[in-house]
């Protein structure tokens, strides 16, 4: 039953991404709320359903977007994998882990998008794509990272309450 919280959260994040965040540009980059949200969720110790969230979010974003569904599914799964690795190694500094995952995850997803689009025959100059899209996107995602982490930490505490110590 706890996993049902994923349905409204993922739906809301994808709707917000498409309706609001995609209209806020920095050069040609836009923030990726589902990516930041997944990274923050997967970093919470109690959470054991991050892979399901990644798959569901990836499929939903793939449905809304013109890009192949393979890109968001693989990209978001990679973000969850990164988060689990970072959670074990830098568990004492969750914000550092959050920033690291956001940075690496955004670049990973951008590179994956570039590869898939180039294979599909879309003429994308690499320097334009990295300089005008990827780097601004990284910056915007970093700005989103702290508030989203705080919200997801509270959500995780609400969904997975810690047992009372007597």
């Amino acid at each position: 039953m706890r996993n049902l919280i994923a349905v409204p959260v993922i739906l809301l994040s994808v709707i917000l991404q498409s309706a609001v965040i995609s209209r806020v540009y920095l050069l040609s980059g836009i923030a990726d709320l589902p990516l930041v949200l997944l990274a923050a969720w997967a970093l919470q110790e109690e959470v054991d359903s991050a892979w399901h969230w990644a798959a569901a979010t990836g499929l939903l974003v793939g449905f809304v977007s013109g890009i192949s569904w393979v890109v968001p599914v693989l990209g978001y799964s990679a973000v969850v994998a990164l988060a689990q690795v970072f959670q074990r190694r830098v568990w004492q500094a969750p914000l550092l882990a959050m920033f690291s995952i956001t940075f690496v995850g955004t670049i990973l997803l951008s590179v994956l998008s570039l590869i898939v689009l180039r294979v599909a025959g879309v003429p994308l100059p690499i320097d334009d794509a990295l300089g005008l899209v990827t780097l601004p996107t990284v910056l915007l995602n970093m700005l989103l990272a702290i508030p989203v982490y705080a919200v997801m930490r509270d959500l995780a505490r609400w969904v997975y309450p810690s047992p009372e110590v007597e």
């Binding site: 498409s18 540009y25 990726d32 013109g66 570039l114 003429p123």
Partner: protein, 258 residues
């Protein structure tokens, strides 16, 4: 009595009345001060309540103003679209609101709130009163995804009105649109109007796209290039028109594969 009438008590009377007036003034000012002290907190409370009521009223009026401004903006857009439909009666249109954009920053798509239930099919051109914006790329029952002409995968066959030549308009990841495949012997200049040519069957002819901004012509290139300023502001798309009576032609089977 005689002394008083004679004016011999006037100075004593003045001192007496002056003292009385001073005493009354002293009592009066103290009373008013004490009255203010006890009544002013009630006045502040009532003023605060009134202020809160007025602030709430102002906030409500401001929200009404915003709503009305939004309605005025939408009415102006709809009015312009109606004018456009009137001057192009040969086409059948379906108005749709833009409700989202593609989540990927590499692609330039918008999502509209009309789908197959409204007769929209894949490939139908989408315009505003200003000019062409793209074509429907995917459809579900109540929504559709429109590929903008600024998308890097978009390619539109166009003609230059003044130069009487044809070219290909391609988008880019930054949203800029460029004219390619312009023959070297054609003279084009900034300000030339770019229209759809209708070649290839993907778009109807003579839809306005924009104007040439600058031209890049180098002797060692096979073709010239030109940057185009679209007439449509793609960052502020709100309501668009889908051309329902245009059926795109799929010419891909005719293109020889190597």
């Amino acid at each position: 009595m005689a002394l008083a009438l004679g004016g011999y008590f006037s100075s004593a009377s003045n001192v007496f009345t002056g003292s009385l007036v001073n005493l009354q003034t002293w009592f009066s000012t103290r009373f008013v001060a004490i009255q203010d002290f006890f009544t002013s907190p009630r006045d502040i409370a009532s003023l605060r309540q009134r202020n809160a009521e007025l602030e709430a009223e102002v906030a409500e009026l401001q929200s009404q103003v915003i709503q009305l401004q939004q309605q005025v903006g939408q009415t102006q857009i709809l009015s312009a679209l109606v004018d456009f439909v009137r001057v192009s009666p040969e086409n059948t249109y379906r108005a749709a609101a833009v409700i989202g954009r593609d989540p990927s920053p590499f692609l330039h798509y918008v999502i509209i709130n009309r789908g197959s239930n409204d007769g929209i099919l894949r490939g139908m051109p989408v315009v505003t009163n200003q000019g062409l914006i793209g074509r429907v790329e995917a459809v579900i029952a109540d929504a559709a995804r429109v590929q903008l002409i600024t998308d890097p995968a978009s390619s539109v066959n166009v003609r230059l009105q003044n130069a009487e030549t044809e070219a290909s308009l391609v988008g880019s990841v930054t949203g800029d649109v460029t004219l390619e495949l312009i023959p070297q012997d054609i003279y084009i200049q900034p300000g030339d109007l770019v229209l759809t040519s209708g070649l290839g069957g993907g778009y109807p002819p003579d839809l306005i796209i924009g104007q040439v901004v600058n031209v890049r012509s180098r002797d060692f290139d096979l073709f010239q290039q030109a940057t185009v300023q679209p007439v449509v502001d793609f960052n502020h798309l709100e309501i668009v028109l889908v051309i329902l009576n245009f059926k795109p032609v799929d010419i891909s089977p005719l293109i020889p594969t190597p």
